[in-house]
Symmetry: C2
Amino acid sequence: MSAARAGADRHADVRARLRGRGSRWTPQRRLVLEVLESAEGHVSATELLERCRRRAPATVASTVYRTLDVLEELGLVRHTHDPSGRIEFHVRPTAAHGHLHCQACGARTEIGAAEAARLLEGLEQAHGFHADLTHLTIAGRCAQCRDRGAQALTRTLQVQ
Amino acid sequence: MSAARAGADRHADVRARLRGRGSRWTPQRRLVLEVLESAEGHVSATELLERCRRRAPATVASTVYRTLDVLEELGLVRHTHDPSGRIEFHVRPTAAHGHLHCQACGARTEIGAAEAARLLEGLEQAHGFHADLTHLTIAGRCAQCRDRGAQALTRTLQVQ
DNA sequence: CGCCTTGTTGCAATGCGTTGCAGTAGCATC
DNA sequence: GATGCTACTGCAACGCATTGCAACAAGGCG
């Protein structure tokens, strides 16, 4: 249940887990962790970096990226790529799930773990391929944009 | 059947289609087209750029990228993103299809149009979401790497 | 054939993300 | 509290991809 603990406890928990694998607890990692704690849902890497800089203007990009890598290994965040290939982090993932990304309006939707698993079961059987759900983003058109016709999509695809 | 024609004809066809939309036929576009004609399957943007430079060392990256955009609008190539977000072009797509990409060994497999459509039908019903098959790349582990255990994958995920 | 419109090119700058390396600083140990 | 090992940081350089802009040239037209 440690993952469900909140507040100050949380730092101690993460700190212990870092030490456990021979890693260290540093002010920079603490900063990134605090920023993540005040975030919800999907956040771009750039956005996270900016939020770090708002708290500590001297923040260095490479450190933040490396810290996010470490925290991903601990399971505290997951990343995917939006349809144009940029990184997005999903904060506090509760379960493996996939992502839908509308190329016309940018809307994001989640696919539940069960649903995603069902989708990909066929791949498992046909190709023996084990898909990484947490990394999955499917591009396309959401219901609203779909109804608004193809014009907007065509433009978006060009620009993207 | 114009898309099935081969050789010199093909240039004339593309040229006509460019003119038809008010675009122009230039030496640079011809170069990219020739490079594409001698390519097969999935090629990274960087690889295409290098091949262009082998034929014409003065080739400029932005021109190639823009040309590829145009050719994608004509349907001559499709692009996806590999699991680390980099662009890959699929040359001469015969039909809409998806891609599987093994994060451990880098192997790529295609999902047939019919199979992909079947996979995503559920999304259409549950979310009204119309997925763009041509842009779909699913990351995970192929059958062989899966059997070789999780170690390799873990490392790859860190590095990625 | 030469002119003119405007799509295209090349270049330089920008953005996002990664990497190599030398110096710094956690933290374990005594 | 001092010491030493080594993970981490910051920096600078790099790679990939995109964009703004001024100069250029494709090709339609007289």
